[in-house]
Structure formats: structure tokens, C-alpha cells
């Protein structure tokens, strides 16, 4: 540990520190505990969403697995997510390399433009996409959903990969070139291994963005192309179906997995 933050001295008085620690634990509990409530509900044996659940059962998990509505939504979510991730990761990585290594005018402006999807309220881009896709006949199609989700995920790839690249010594690739390496060979053997953790983290963020995205999916899906979040939103809104708790538990597990993977990658990248 290199340095300690200045605030440490403020709380050198043990009472102040105790108070701050107590307050912080409460905030952490507020962040974390509500997420946990969904797990017992997902495995409840009760007929309704009562807490505490009367007993343990996998009835809702079974219901979800055997419902064609849910399974097709899961399939849609995965295929759209993977396709959008491939697109955004490929284009985003290329753009990040061009931005960090290139020496052309307006790089910072272009970087800002690529982050714009994060800034524009999703409802606004969803409405615009709906109006445009209605004209182009892309509503309720795989292609339409993939394009929209790739747009939403790309900023994460651009951010993470360019952050990885700025920390990486460019003289390495110059050395490869001076040793006579072919540009593609230099990229494959020098650049790619270094930026790989960043690319994978970006891809992970991009996939989760698509997998969890509700608003654009709600606007563009129509009745033919519903993803898991769309089905969940409609389920919560209209009937409060208890099997949603089971789906929620599943999504929570996916998030946990994604987070742990990203965290491990980040540590590896640091070494």
C-alpha cells in the first residue's frame, strides 16, 4: 500500500472513525441487502409472494424452464447480446486503437462522440430508434435489436480499451516494427496480449448492457422479439407473477459471475 488518503488523519480520533465506519456499514447494507431478498422468493414454495416464504421449492424455477415464453426470451436475450457484443467489441477496439495511437485532428471530439450513447437518455434514443426503424422496417427484428444494443455497449469498450492502451508503452510496438515485424504480426504478438484483458472487460460490460437493457428493447421488440427484461417488465407491471423472482435470481447469478470475471481480469491486467 503506497499511500493513505488524507482523510485518515481526520478520523484518527477513534470516536469519529467509529462513527464513520458505522455509517458506512449502514450504507453498504442498504446497497446490498435488498438484492438478497429476491433469492428466497425465487425458491419459495408459496403460491404468492409472501415473506418469509413458507418453504423451499424449485417450482418457479421449473415453471420458467418449462415455459416456452421464458425460454424463447432467454434465447433471444443471449443471441442478441452475443451478436451486439461481437459488433461493439470489434468496432470499439478498433476505434480505441485509432484514437489512442492516431495523431489526427479532433481525436478528443471523436472520443466524446463515441461516449455520447451514455449521455443521451435511453428513452430519447429509444424513441428516435423507434421512429427511424419504423421507416426502415427494422422494428421487432433481430438486426434492429442488435444494432441498437451494439450502439449502447460500444462506449464501454471504447473507454476500457483506450484506458488499457494509454497505460501501455507505445515504444514496444515501435520496437517490433524496427525489428521488421509486419503490422498485423506486431498487433497479434505485441498489442493484442496487452490489451486482451481490457477487450474482454469491455465485451463483458457490453454484453451485460444488452442483457439487462429494458427501454430500447421495450420500444423496438414489438410482440415478436421479446427479451428477458421485456418479459420481466411486463410481468411486474401487469400481474406480479412470482416466477419473476426465479428469473431475477438467475439474472443476479449472471451479474455476480460477470462481476467476478471482470474483477479477476482487472487484477491480471494490473500485473
Amino acid at each position: 500500500m503506497k499511500r493513505r488518503v488524507s482523510s485518515y488523519s481526520f478520523f484518527s480520533s477513534s470516536f469519529g472513525r467509529l462513527l464513520l465506519g458505522l455509517y458506512s456499514s449502514l450504507v453498504l447494507a442498504y446497497l446490498l441487502l435488498p438484492l438478497m431478498v429476491i433469492i428466497p422468493m425465487g425458491f419459495s414454495s408459496g403460491k404468492y409472494l409472501t415473506f418469509p416464504p413458507p418453504g423451499f421449492s424449485v417450482q418457479y424455477v421449473q415453471e420458467v424452464v418449462h415455459s416456452p415464453q421464458w425460454t424463447s426470451a432467454i434465447w433471444n436475450s443471449i443471441t442478441v447480446g452475443v451478436a451486439a457484443t461481437v459488433l461493439s467489441t470489434l468496432f470499439g477496439t478498433m476505434a480505441a486503437i485509432g484514437l489512442v495511437w492516431g495523431r489526427f485532428r479532433g481525436r478528443l471530439l471523436l472520443f466524446g462522440f463515441f461516449l455520447l450513447p451514455l449521455l443521451v437518455p435511453v428513452v430519447v434514443s429509444a424513441t428516435g430508434l423507434y421512429l427511424l426503424f419504423a421507416k426502415l422496417g427494422l422494428l421487432g427484428t433481430f438486426l434492429g435489436m442488435v444494432l441498437a444494443h451494439a450502439m449502447l455497449g460500444a462506449p464501454f469498450v471504447v473507454m476500457v480499451v483506450s484506458a488499457t492502451l494509454t497505460g501501455y508503452d507505445r515504444r514496444l510496438i515501435n520496437a517490433a516494427f524496427s525489428l521488421g515485424a509486419h503490422p498485423w504480426g506486431a498487433f497479434r504478438t505485441v498489442t493484442l496480449p496487452i490489451i486482451a484483458p481490457g477487450v474482454v472487460s469491455g465485451a463483458l460490460l457490453s454484453f451485460m448492457t444488452s442483457f439487462d437493457e429494458v427501454v430500447v428493447a421495450l420500444f423496438l421488440s414489438g410482440s415478436d422479439y421479446r427479451t428477458v427484461p421485456v418479459l420481466m417488465f411486463q410481468g411486474i407491471r401487469f400481474e406480479l407473477d412470482p416466477s419473476i423472482a426465479a428469473v431475477g435470481t438467475l439474472l443476479l447469478a449472471v451479474s455476480l459471475l460477470a462481476m467476478i470475471t471482470a474483477e479477476l481480469l482487472r487484477r491480471r491486467a494490473r500485473r
Partner: protein
């Protein structure tokens, strides 16, 4: 690498540039277009619109009535009349009803119908067709380029003399929703700051190993689906929910408390969802304050509280600004959470947009509300970012302070 290859690296950004232009910029341009441009009437009833524009009288002559009947008849034949007069329905409901009335009684093919005076036929059917007021309003709603939707979205309209006036009291809705949206965003930002700042301070003061483990608790909600988090709060707060169940079991309440579908639920849930966005920038900034500064302050005799107020707090202002900006601008666009846990009093701008896109099919209004939401967020974001960037001279691409 040579100068030229450094420049040609621009080509690598082209695919993403094209994709982003197609899927973000083009839709936004389309949104503006929809908000300002409703060509259906002038396209669907072209001869009538041309004839009316050529006629400057308060109540036009026979010719205009005749082409109106003929144009309407032609659209009715192809069942397009509903689409063609839809903008009129959104802009002037009374006028739309008058046109619907005409469409109902219109003879099969008006151009060969034996009617000597269409003007008389119109006024016999509905005497309002004789009034100059009707025609003044009709002249306005046939314009393809209109500021009607943008004005409506700000509770404004044009009166008979084309001057801007407030909408009637009972029709005023949009400014209230905009204020609601800003208020919810402001309160949530404040709550995030109140909860997030002390936690970030604490996390920043821990050893990096402990901080990293505790930080996972902040990151897990960040990675978890928005719907899962909102749904968890529904399970907690609903009438038969966890909180009410526990309160009843402890004998603290006899009646379940109304915790859902109100402002309280919106604040609690939105703060929960947005808190990580406040903590991340705050933590980074607080962690990077050089400790010699506070040590120096302490060695010069400053009390811990004073050293916090004079060193740590001012130095963390960029983190406070970045976190607040992030939370506030994301909060302004919230749709899912207020739709699921809020009541009718807590409607936010995004919900109104979604309602107009998906249920009311009033795209002009949805577009105008979208333009207003986007404008608010952009102005806010760009001005704060500009101040931050120019004061800190920070270049994210160089990865260093210039």
C-alpha cells in the same frame, strides 16, 4: 511509426463512427424532425392545401370546399383518411371531429356527386364551417412545419392572433412533469451525495486490500440488472412486503404502511440504483489526494475537522461535481423505476414519452418531449464538463494531466 500511418489510424475509427451515426445521430435527427414536421395533411390533401393557400378570404370560396371534399373522398376510398388527418387530431381536436363528421356523410365519389354548392352542403351539415375562426385554425394545422408540439410540451400555445399564451389550466401538464423530473433528480442526487461521500471517504482510508473487498459490495449492485434491483424493492416495500411484514411481526404497526407507489418509494429505489455512480468518481478522487498535504496541515496544528474542511473537501470537489453530474443526468432520464414503484403524482418525463410512443401514438408530442429532455441533459452536462475540463486541463486520451 511514421507520421502518415499515425494519421491513417483514423480509418480504424470509421466503422464505429458509421454505426454510431446510423444508430444514434440519425435517430436523434429523426426525433427533431418528428417534433417539428407533420407533413401528413399537406401530403394527403395536396389540392386542398394548395387551393386554401391561394385563397386569402376569411371564409374561402366554393372551389376550396369542393377540393376538400374531393381530396377527402379520395383518401377515404383508400382508407388513408385516418392517417392523413391524424396531426389535426393532436393539434385541434374540435377541428378533427368536424372533419370526421364530414367524412362520415361524404358521398361515395364527391367529384361526380350532384351537389351544386359544396359550401352550402358543408354548412348544412355543420354550421361551424361558415365561421372564419374554423378556417383560421385550419390554415394553421395544415402547415407541415409546426412549433405546436414543442410549445405544447412547455404548456404554451398560440392564440387567434398567433401570439404565445399559456395553455388552459386544465390542460397544463408538461411543465409540471418537467419540474417533477428535475425535483426527483435533484433530491436523488443529494441523497446519493449524503450516503456516498462518507462511504467513499471511509473506503479511501482503508488499506487497499480491505477497500477492494468492500468495493465489491458497491460494484455488485452496479452490475446487477436495473429490473432486478427495482423488483427487489417492490418485494420489500409492497403492502404485503418484507418491510411491512417485519414491522407487523414486531408489533410496531397495526396497519400496513403505504410504502409503494409514492414519492418515498421512488427516492429509495432510485437512490439505491444510482448510488454506485456517485461512489465511483468520489472514491477515485479521494484516494488520489496526496497524504502529505493533510499531514502537513496536521503538523501545522490544524484540527482533524479543520484539515478535512480546508484540504480534503476542497480537493474532492471535482469528484463531487463529476458524481453529482452523472447521477443527476442519468436520473433525469429514468423510466423503468418510477413507472414500477411511483404513483401517478411521480410521473417523470420519460414515462410521458413512453406513453406517447407506445400507447397514444402521438409521435409529434413524444418527439417534442424527447427534444426537451435531451436538451436539458445536454446543456447541463456540457456546461459542467466544460468547466471541469478547462479547470483541470484533463485529457482522457493522453492518460495524464497536461
Amino acid at each position: 511509426m511514421s507520421q502518415s500511418s499515425s494519421r491513417s489510424l483514423f480509418l480504424l475509427t470509421v466503422p464505429l463512427l458509421v454505426t454510431t451515426v446510423l444508430t444514434l445521430l440519425a435517430p436523434i435527427v429523426f426525433l427533431f424532425r418528428t417534433a417539428l414536421y407533420a407533413p401528413e395533411v399537406s401530403r394527403g390533401l395536396p389540392r386542398f392545401v394548395a387551393a386554401l393557400e391561394a385563397d386569402t378570404a376569411a371564409v374561402p370560396r366554393e372551389e376550396v370546399f369542393r377540393v376538400l371534399a374531393e381530396d377527402l373522398g379520395r383518401r377515404k376510398e383508400t382508407f388513408e383518411h385516418g392517417i392523413v388527418i391524424k396531426p389535426i387530431r393532436h393539434q385541434d381536436l374540435e377541428l378533427w371531429k368536424m372533419l370526421k363528421g364530414i367524412l362520415r356523410v361524404l358521398p361515395e365519389d364527391p367529384s361526380i356527386a350532384e351537389i351544386s354548392s359544396w359550401q352550402r352542403w358543408f354548412s348544412e351539415h355543420d354550421s361551424r364551417w361558415e365561421s372564419a375562426n374554423t378556417w383560421r385554425r385550419l390554415r394553421r394545422v395544415i402547415q407541415p412545419v409546426t412549433d405546436f408540439y414543442l410549445l405544447e410540451a412547455m404548456d404554451l400555445k398560440r392564440d387567434g392572433e398567433n401570439a404565445l399564451v399559456w395553455q388552459e389550466k386544465e390542460k397544463q401538464l408538461f411543465l409540471g412533469v418537467l419540474l417533477n423530473t428535475l425535483e426527483i433528480g435533484g433530491v436523488v442526487t443529494l441523497l446519493c451525495l449524503l450516503l456516498g461521500y462518507p462511504l467513499s471517504l471511509y473506503l479511501a482510508s482503508l488499506s487497499s486490500r480491505t477497500a477492494r473487498i468492500l468495493f465489491l459490495f458497491v460494484l455488485l449492485p452496479f452490475w446487477t440488472s436495473l429490473l432486478v434491483r427495482t423488483y427487489s424493492w417492490i418485494l420489500l416495500l409492497q403492502r404485503e412486503g418484507v418491510v411491512n411484514g417485519m414491522l407487523a411481526a414486531l408489533g410496531l404497526v397495526s396497519e400496513p404502511l403505504p410504502l409503494m407507489h409514492n414519492r418515498f418509494a421512488v427516492y429509495v429505489t432510485m437512490t439505491h440504483v444510482l448510488l454506485p455512480f456517485m461512489i465511483l468518481p468520489l472514491f477515485v478522487v479521494l484516494r488520489n489526494i496526496p497524504s502529505p498535504l493533510t499531514t502537513a496541515a496536521a503538523s501545522l496544528g490544524a484540527s482533524p475537522w479543520r484539515s478535512f474542511l480546508t484540504v480534503t473537501l476542497p480537493m474532492s470537489v471535482p469528484g463531487i461535481a463529476a458524481g453529482s453530474l452523472l447521477v443527476f443526468s442519468i436520473a433525469l432520464g429514468f423510466y423503468i423505476t418510477p413507472a414500477l414503484v411511483g404513483g401517478s403524482e411521480d410521473t417523470m418525463l420519460s414515462q410521458l414519452i413512453a406513453l406517447n410512443v407506445n400507447s397514444l401514438l402521438n409521435w409529434g408530442r413524444a418527439g417534442a418531449l424527447g427534444v426537451i429532455l435531451l436538451g436539458t441533459v445536454m446543456v447541463l452536462f456540457l456546461s459542467v464538463t466544460f468547466v471541469l475540463l478547462s479547470r483541470m486541463r484533463w485529457n482522457p486520451l493522453a492518460g495524464e494531466l497536461r
